[in-house]
Assembly symmetry: C3
Homo-oligomer: 331 residues x 3
């Protein structure tokens, strides 16, 4: 495809020859002749010019270049639009591997692909264009919506519900029992975990992440949310739409999280809190109270990020002064 044709696709403006053929996409480090790459600032533009790339996707205001440019408002977004245009997932033919174990009572839509050693138990309902890869286990009465993709070694417990276009990476465990116990006279009794997990449309769940079923209500992951690797979502948690939750976060039981919430890595949230819409939590925040809509928090415990930074500055000053005082004292 020619540079000028790609530019049309993303409403970009060509600078230099628009007639060069583009054969692939790549990052600056790996760009070969015929490749399109992208540069979001001056430094990266210089790097891209040194590479063998034939065309650079960049922003509207940056300097001119010796190489052909396509100028757009958001080069990273345009890059992924071009990528997705040429790499739309191919439809797989209907296929059930002979080493898969699929109960007779399972229902399936069109173009479902099931790999070796997959186990699918009684009553599972599977939509169209679903892919379930090797060594995954789907327990009883799960519902798996159209265009879901399940990577190898995933486990879904009974009654788990995946809506449309949900992606589960390897080792994810969805629907395990919540951590609910009642202590009485030194003995520990397990509380019934009767709810299920509902994962709405367009959610992506990272490798080895665990999401527990609800105890009396359900655990819900809202449409469009993305959860990274090794996160723990406890029973009865509800996460709103379009959340972004980085790796190793943990959300304790019963906490309700609004829409468009962003969590850095390793954030921990206590149980039964309310986190408003549009909240941002910095990495490693330890959240022990509810948070109002739109807040940006950080720290141990999490406070407004301005408060936490000021506190750290004061502590640093105190520490340095004490060192000075000590060394003056010694003299």
């Amino acid at each position: 495809m020619k540079i000028k044709e790609l530019a049309e696709l993303i409403e970009g403006q060509v600078e230099g020859s628009g007639d060069i053929d583009i054969k692939g996409l790549s990052g600056i480090d790996k760009a070969k002749s015929g490749d399109l790459t992208f540069a979001i600032d001056e430094d990266r533009l210089a790097g891209a010019e040194k590479s063998n790339a034939s065309c650079i996707l960049t922003n509207r205001t940056i300097r001119k270049s010796s190489k052909a440019l396509i100028r757009v408002t958001n080069p990273k977004l345009s890059f992924l639009i071009i990528y997705n245009t040429f790499n739309a997932p191919k439809d797989r033919e209907s296929f059930i591997h002979p080493m898969a174990t699929v109960s007779d009572s399972v229902t399936m839509g069109k173009n479902v692909w099931i790999g070796p050693n997959v186990s699918i138990e009684e009553g599972v309902k599977i939509g169209d264009h679903v892919i379930i890869e090797s060594n995954s286990s789907i327990k009883k009465n799960c519902k798996i919506g159209s265009f879901c993709r399940i990577y190898p070694n995933v486990t879904l417990y009974d009654n788990t519900e995946l809506q449309k276009n949900v992606t589960l990476h390897s080792g994810a465990v969805i629907g395990s029992d919540g951590f609910g116990y009642v202590k009485d006279k030194g003995k520990i009794y397990k509380f019934p975990q009767l709810g299920k997990v509902i994962i709405e449309d367009d959610v992506e769940i990272g490798a080895n992440t665990t999401i527990d079923r609800g105890s009396l209500s359900d655990t819900v992951i809202g449409a469009g949310s993305k959860i990274d690797n090794l996160c723990q979502i406890a029973h009865n948690v509800k996460i709103g739409k379009n959340g972004l939750i980085a790796a190793q976060c943990g959300i304790s039981g019963g906490t309700i999280i609004g829409d468009n919430v962003t969590m850095g890595g390793k954030v921990g949230i206590a149980d039964n809190l309310m986190i408003g819409d549009d909240v941002t939590m910095g990495a490693a925040s330890v959240v022990i109270g509810s948070i109002k809509k739109g807040s940006v928090v950080w720290g141990y415990p999490a406070r407004s990020i301005a408060h936490t930074k000021r506190q750290m500055a004061i502590l640093s000053r105190l520490t340095k002064n004490s060192r000075k005082a000590n060394s003056l004292g010694k003299r």
Copy 2:
């Protein structure tokens, strides 16, 4: 079963009609007509009254209600007793799925159920009423006591010992090599990991939790302890009886933990410490020293919870005062 019959089961006191038939149990949100639910306080009682539930399990002292009540000392405990009475796990018939791979040298008790794609290696001994679900791998010479339940995609390394009624959730890895290395002249040598993991009676282990085998002694999880998802228990750790360890905790090598210890989520404990009986560690505590029996600790590093809260209050005051001082200064 009638309300008055259920009340007898849990030594409860009926208020209102005891003759209504109860067909199911559920949380307040999902209660249908014919269901029993429970309410531990005024707010929840009001909620339960608005639901379709036919009977509410509640405490001895709360106000009267328009719905039938059963009054007990601990409604949550009574609810689970009723639940467990009607949902005792059913005995499964002996069954080995044709897609399972079981070594000839494996010995098995009565009513053992083994799912598809399970691999059980040489010398494994399995007790009565054991369930091992799909895609789990049991390596050589493991011992699995009666009434153990292993969910899909679990791995047991060689010689792992599960005593009676142990539950392992999906993705748990028990008996992997400990992180033991010796550095010499810039090279890293692996130290032998010769011990095993022993998990005593009535333990439950969460999804994707990892427990390493001992290096020279064994790693031991005491009877009745419950460990949540994504925890790391390092080599040679000993955990006492009836511990409650929430998600994403990590216990470093050689640490000894007493009985009845409670850990909030994300607690980290350094290596070779002694944690006394009845200790409680707040969520995200960073424990770098041994802790005496009965202590309640929190913080980074963990101190008595009173100390940590006072310290946080002082820091907050300092930070606010400095802001005031700054803004006065500007004026």
Copy 3:
């Protein structure tokens, strides 16, 4: 083997009878008659003397003992050298389990052992003496070097490259998609994850650890590095040679880590930082800035360990003084 023969192997000096036969190795707690054990200090020497061990490996300067000793410079290192001498991994015969699913296009070296329910997809290349255990999934075009060992329930995504003598513990997921999204007008778009994971020689990866593929460049784990359980290595991270990374660490996208770096458990590192060679990070450090070669850091946020310890001491003093002031005030 006689004590004097073992002593020669490790350049040790025998004290007491060198003619006793040694039949096994063990820790002090489990030592039987005929066993060799080791003691690195006076306390442990006393313990070893009370055990049934027939010989104690100890240092050059410790007191004499009633039992036979072998004195060496580093008893722990010598112990593992003896262990490894007698427990060299045995070569397995070539074997593909009939329940494994191996694509016709896979190429394999000599003495490759493949367990039940392993799935190996198109184009995978496997070297000599490789072991792949039950229920592991190897996706398309992976390269697995000689002497690699893959425990059960591991997943390798497409194009993952293991060089020589790499060990992957159970539940590890290598090559999953990085957490890369672009937000535009309230929608979240997935950024292409086109790179791969390269794991160099002699690396060991712990149970349930996740390593994401690069987005535009590759994720690289340097030769000789050891990564413990439940760690998260994000896309485009490069880790140098001989790193030691304890459990539950998380390294965010694009961070470059030098050689010989040591991380305690639960360390978190922000994205796109540079961590120099020979850096040590204390457990639970929250690293938000680049770190110079040779530094030792700790804390939230991580600072030089001396700074963090001084700061904690000052805070403790402030807190205690305020308690004194309060109690004086009350009087």
